[in-house]
């Protein structure tokens, strides 16, 4: 299926890859900082920062997963929150059946084991992305934007109408999923679990975009016709990328359901997809760390503005318009060299 013209790959790889020390060093420094952070937060007397950073890490995973198709693949998918919400609902529904004791569809037992719910969320989100992506990718450009948005709203209405799972009101996950004997109810423990998963996710993500698959995906963004002409079935590549992106969002959704102990149709709402796109644009499209910075910037801005006025969107809107009109590189262009810029 994934047959690639070897010359193209050879050309792309022709420039010798600089063996630089900073990705490894950077990761180590980051892990040390992340490990020390809860103590720091306690020292400055604001332990709620731990929760804030947990949320940022979760949204960073979701935004990065969208960035795979949007930034690296050039596909403006406007329904990405759907997979985030589906991931959350997998956790919520499995927990619901675990508590009530009667199995889902009569034969799938509920569970509260993180090691089961997270892979389940990833797989189910991937399946949704496979079906909706296969349809949406039959178009491109503006119809693609509209269709991904419309299908995501369809799932939103589906969950609103599922009265058995709370409908409009959503589902409460009374206790976080269990992971070995860790005290998951403790926010600091959950912070460490989330950061650990996020670091693993970004290592895998970095490998993926530097792989042959990532290179072909970038080629499709730059010139799809040329990729097709050298014998690459671009539809399949785009679909695989779409599914991987959906799986990443499902992972983030499952973590979010655990963090906030709550899932609701709001997780799938189209404005949530807009938020993820804002994070990428602010941080820089087609970069590894852009979504992290973007998530930190947006969540930080939101937290700051809400403490100031409840009508924070009134100010966020114009800020967003100004960013779009007057910048193109995003925050990462400020930190150029920290991450691989799109060519």
């Amino acid at each position: 299926m994934l047959k690639v013209d070897e010359t193209y790959i050879a050309q792309t790889k022709a420039e010798p890859r600089r063996r630089s020390w900073w990705p490894v060093a950077g990761t180590i420094v980051f892990i040390l900082c992340a490990a020390a952070f809860p103590f720091l937060a306690k020292a400055i007397g604001d332990p709620s920062l731990v929760g804030l950073v947990t949320r940022i890490a979760i949204y960073a995973i979701a935004a990065a997963s969208l960035n795979l198709i949007l930034g690296y693949g050039g596909l403006v998918s406007f329904g990405h929150a759907a997979y985030f919400g589906v991931g959350g609902y997998v956790v919520g529904i499995l927990y619901n059946h675990y508590i009530s004791g009667d199995p889902f569809w009569g034969f799938i037992p509920g569970t509260n084991q993180l090691l089961i719910t997270i892979p389940a969320a990833i797989i189910i989100s991937g399946l949704f992305a496979l079906v909706l992506g296969a349809l949406s990718l039959r178009t491109s450009g503006v119809p693609f934007i509209m269709i991904t948005l419309a299908f995501a709203q369809m799932l939103y209405f589906l969950f609103v109408s599922l009265k058995a799972y709370g409908g409009d009101d959503g589902l409460i996950v009374r206790r976080r999923n269990v992971l070995f004997d860790l005290p998951m109810a403790d926010d600091t423990t959950f912070y460490y679990v989330t950061i650990g998963i996020a670091v693993l996710y970004f290592i895998v993500f970095a490998k993926l975009v530097r792989s042959q698959f990532g290179i072909v995906l970038g080629g499709i963004r730059q010139n799809e016709r040329r990729m097709a002409a050298i014998g690459i079935s671009t539809y399949q590549y785009k679909l695989v990328a779409f599914v991987i992106a959906g799986m990443g969002a499902g992972l983030a959704g499952a973590l979010m359901a655990n963090y906030s102990k709550f899932v609701s149709p709001d997780m799938l709402h189209w404005t949530k997809s807009g938020d993820l796109m804002i994070m990428i644009i602010i941080g820089g499209t087609g970069t590894l760390l852009g979504p992290v910075l973007g998530a930190a910037a947006l969540i930080g801005l939101e937290t700051y503005l809400t403490s100031w006025t409840e009508h924070w969107k009134f100010f966020l809107g114009p800020i967003l318009i100004l960013i779009v009109l007057f910048s193109s590189g995003g925050l990462t262009s400020v930190f150029s060299g920290w991450s691989r810029k799109r060519e």
Partner: protein, 304 residues
């Protein structure tokens, strides 16, 4: 049978409302290659302006120009301040900037008028019902909407197909550079088309007022349906927008009216209601999926 006819007409009327929005959206895309998410805001602005004027003066006749002028002016301001700078940008930037507009406008309207929905009463002259077929009364107001919508559709058809502006619009949607090369002030043409789209959205909004609650977010709800219409009809095609709107309007209304009843024949009432409501709100998306499978470009794709 009576119910079926009534729902058929309701679906037709809903389709006509959708057409007014879809026509503007598809024109703006077809001519300027801009995707405008804030189109639903213009619909909301038209609805709010009309509702407020109707509440203050008690006159629906005054509310009509108020809705149109407010939406038209808002359209011109938006075009001048934001959209104008997005013509040459990629679609992602257009999506983000117009998404910012939505946040700003919706929150602004919330700050001014609060979260409680406004209710508009149907103007007295149109409040009765007419017997379309002996024995079957149908609300006059809905008939009026259909008449207005069909007149506008006809007018739009004449404007696009028989006038000089229409000629430029048609030429501009397929051969932009050529129109520019012929010395046409393309910027002015863009502004006119955008204002026209805003007027149509405002018209739909002010007419929807008495049928729905006028509230923040009403624009986005219908915007998504409008997207489905445009995708089904084919991007950039007015004819596609018309047929697409009728398909979506009829499908949505008929499913909502009859699916729960159908489920009730073999399951208990409350479950049937929930499932019926859920599936019927998914109905139009299934239609969209079907159209995509057969014709990814939409039923009436403009550029061959």
């Amino acid at each position: 049978m009576t119910l079926a006819l009534e729902q058929l007409l309701n679906g037709f009327q809903f389709g006509i409302m959708l057409f007014l929005l879809a026509a503007g959206l598809t024109l703006i895309f077809g001519i300027m290659n801009v995707i405008n998410l804030a189109h639903g805001c213009l619909y909301m602005i038209g609805a709010y302006a009309a509702a407020l004027v109707a509440a203050r003066t008690g006159s629906f006749l005054l509310a009509i120009p108020a809705g149109l002028v407010a939406a038209g002016m808002a359209g011109l301001i938006i075009e001048f301040l934001v959209i104008r700078k997005l013509y040459d940008r990629d679609h992602l930037q257009q999506v983000l900037a117009t998404f910012g507009l939505i946040l700003f406008i919706n929150e602004g309207v919330t700050m001014l008028f609060g979260r409680t929905p406004l209710f508009v009463s149907i103007p007295p002259a149109l409040s009765g019902s007419i017997e379309i077929i002996p024995g079957i009364p149908y609300p006059t107001y809905r008939i009026a909407i259909m008449v207005v919508g069909l007149l506008v559709a006809g007018g739009l058809y004449l404007l696009v197909n028989k006038t000089r502006i229409g000629m430029l619009v048609r030429a501009g949607s397929t051969h932009r550079e050529m129109v520019r090369a012929l010395g046409v002030d393309i910027r002015l043409l863009y502004t006119i088309v955008f204002a026209l789209g805003a007027l149509l959205a405002g018209l739909a909004g002010l007419m929807a007022g008495p049928l729905l609650a006028v509230q923040v977010g009403m624009g986005e709800q219908i915007l998504i349906l409008t997207f489905v219409v445009v995708v089904i009809g084919g991007l950039g095609s007015i004819r596609g927008a018309f047929y697409g709107a009728l398909i979506v309007g009829l499908t949505d209304t008929m499913l909502r009216a009859f699916l729960p009843g159908f489920f009730k024949t073999f399951m208990n009432a409350s479950e049937a209601d929930a499932l019926g409501a859920g599936l019927s709100s998914m109905g139009i998306y299934l239609v969209m999926a079907l159209v995509l499978l057969i014709r990814p470009q939409g039923l009436f794709h403009a550029q061959g």
